[in-house]
Symmetry: C2
């Protein structure tokens, strides 16, 4: 369940109230509104349900994307939600909102991009809907995944657990800034935005690993998403600024602008890194296993604390500053 | 899987090609693109997946609908797809596309309308997404249902089976015409459009009834949807014009305009009547059971034939005319 701006948060809150409002729930709803996916109990395994949409001029500009690349990204943002629950993707439904006079070849390539990305992870489009619209092009993907019964990684963090960040932070936000400015840009940063890699390799590798006790994917910035984990678990967090995983490309980008890469790492969304809450004794082994087996950056950046509502960024000088949820900062 | 206009049919056809294009299917896909719902095999029962969207100025004008009524209808069109597969609805995801400056109270009432209609049938919203848009308001509902293993009612009709229509035809199209013209209108016709009743009572009553061998819900007009059943089953159909279930309100509407109610019954969509293909020996008993138990019109209007591609409307004079798929005729 996600929203982009304060006014839309109201609508999500309204969904959450409706979903929990004493009305008879259908059997099998384990978790509804308020995590990366809804979780419903199947006969054997649990099902994961998620949906995310890309709207032209709001989430993308088509001069940045071929049709295939846009479809690839539309699949990625949903695949990442399944990864963040520790699940495996299975089935997708795709709703297309197609403007009058649209280039249908472009839209067909979107479909192909979605199908190709799903196929890479063993999933497929099984249905969908095509609507005309007077508005912008929009692509809405619903993804159904599965995980072992009661094994879904929920958002709620536990005090004392290590905060393990898998993947780099801030690259995609820098890439997006460069795209907006129309600059010739370091390919790594731009690619991080255009073609994010959902970390299904992580959910597959760590399936059944009981030390993983919470997870989220970083779609809206580490600060926002970390605070979501804390709020869900009624805990706080301490993050060491010096440990945040920053790429050299991001550091060069920030030096050229006189900006602070830590701010980009905290605020930048769209990287689809994973944040795991890991039992502290097991964290070093889990970290090493991910890095060795998957060749991806995996860093313990701090820990969840018992101080609910206190979110601290620790500096190298021993001081600290509060972490703020910075909200959504994609296109506007 | 549905589309509204020829150009959009191309996109649906493209989905269908992608879904069947030799790529590795995830395990458990029983039926993908091309029926009212996708069917995937669960561990115990089968899951049904469907999605349908309502776009402002394309599928509705908001002066016709309170927010709650619009949400009710958005749920109805998806609930009807589950009814048409003989299933029970369970879980919904709702994607909202909210224009800048939208009246959020209106949108909150849409959410409530969806939740209330789902709750009536034992289903609930478990997740969703809220996106801003520069375009019109749009509501995209995904519904997950279930049915007994291998018991889903598919579209494909069998030659020789009776065509059983449950519910009246043409009322909603007449109601929509009256709304467009801004006339004070017979409540029954307008209500048929604004507040269609998904026939989940029928799928519940006939669960496990093996004489039911095919089904579709009439969203785009009997002629269009009947031809979909015929094409899926590679059969033809003979329909007796005199047997089509017409309301007195529709007849009065047609007399006042000098129009043919049979044409309205064949072409008019949005009624969400069900069409079942029923084993001929069992059809009278099934028909009587539905009418007696549910108090809804249930009429055998003809039969599916072995003449694939031949769709005939039989007149009372013994003559016949071809039935054409008339396509989508909602708002434009």
């Amino acid at each position: 369940m996600s929203a982009e701006r304060p006014s839309e948060d109201r609508l999500v809150a309204s969904f959450a109230r409706l979903a929990s409002a004493g009305r008879r729930r259908p059997r099998g709803v384990v978790a509804g509104v308020g995590d990366d996916c809804a979780v419903v109990r199947g006969d054997g395994e649990d099902l994961l349900l998620t949906t995310d949409a890309l709207v032209e001029h709001r989430h993308f500009e088509r001069e940045w994307f071929s049709g295939h690349a846009l479809g690839w990204r539309a699949a990625a943002v949903n695949l990442s939600d399944i990864a963040a629950m520790g699940g495996r993707p299975r089935y997708a439904l795709v709703s297309l909102f197609v403007p009058d006079g649209e280039d249908l070849a472009y839209v067909t390539r979107i479909e192909k991009g979605i199908a190709d990305h799903l196929a890479r992870h063993g999933a497929a489009i099984v249905g969908g809907n095509v609507s005309g619209t007077e508005g912008p092009l929009a692509v809405d993907v619903v993804l159904v995944g599965a995980c072992a019964r009661k094994a879904a990684w929920m958002r709620a963090a536990r005090a004392g657990d290590a905060i393990l960040v898998i993947g780099e932070l801030g690259n995609a936000a820098a890439g997006l800034a460069l795209l907006r400015e129309g600059r010739s840009a370091p390919p790594r940063l731009v690619r991080a935005y255009l073609r994010p890699a959902p970390r299904l390799d992580v959910s597959e590798l760590l399936e059944g690993e009981r030390a993983v006790r919470a997870a989220i994917d970083v779609s809206d910035g580490l600060s926002t998403d970390l605070i979501r984990m804390c709020r869900a678990g009624r805990v706080g967090c301490d993050v060491e600024a010096a440990k945040l995983p920053l790429s050299r490309a991001l550091e060069a980008f920030c030096i050229a602008r006189g900006e602070d890469p830590v701010a980009w790492a905290l605020r930048g969304g769209d990287d689809y890194a994973l944040v795991l809450g890991v039992a502290p004794a097991a964290a070093p082994a889990v970290r090493a296993r991910v890095e060795r087996r998957l060749g991806v950056s995996a860093v313990v950046v701090g820990r969840f604390t018992a101080s609910a509502g206190t979110y601290r960024l620790l500096g190298e000088d021993g001081g600290h500053t509060p972490i703020q949820p910075t909200g959504w900062d994609h296109l506007r």
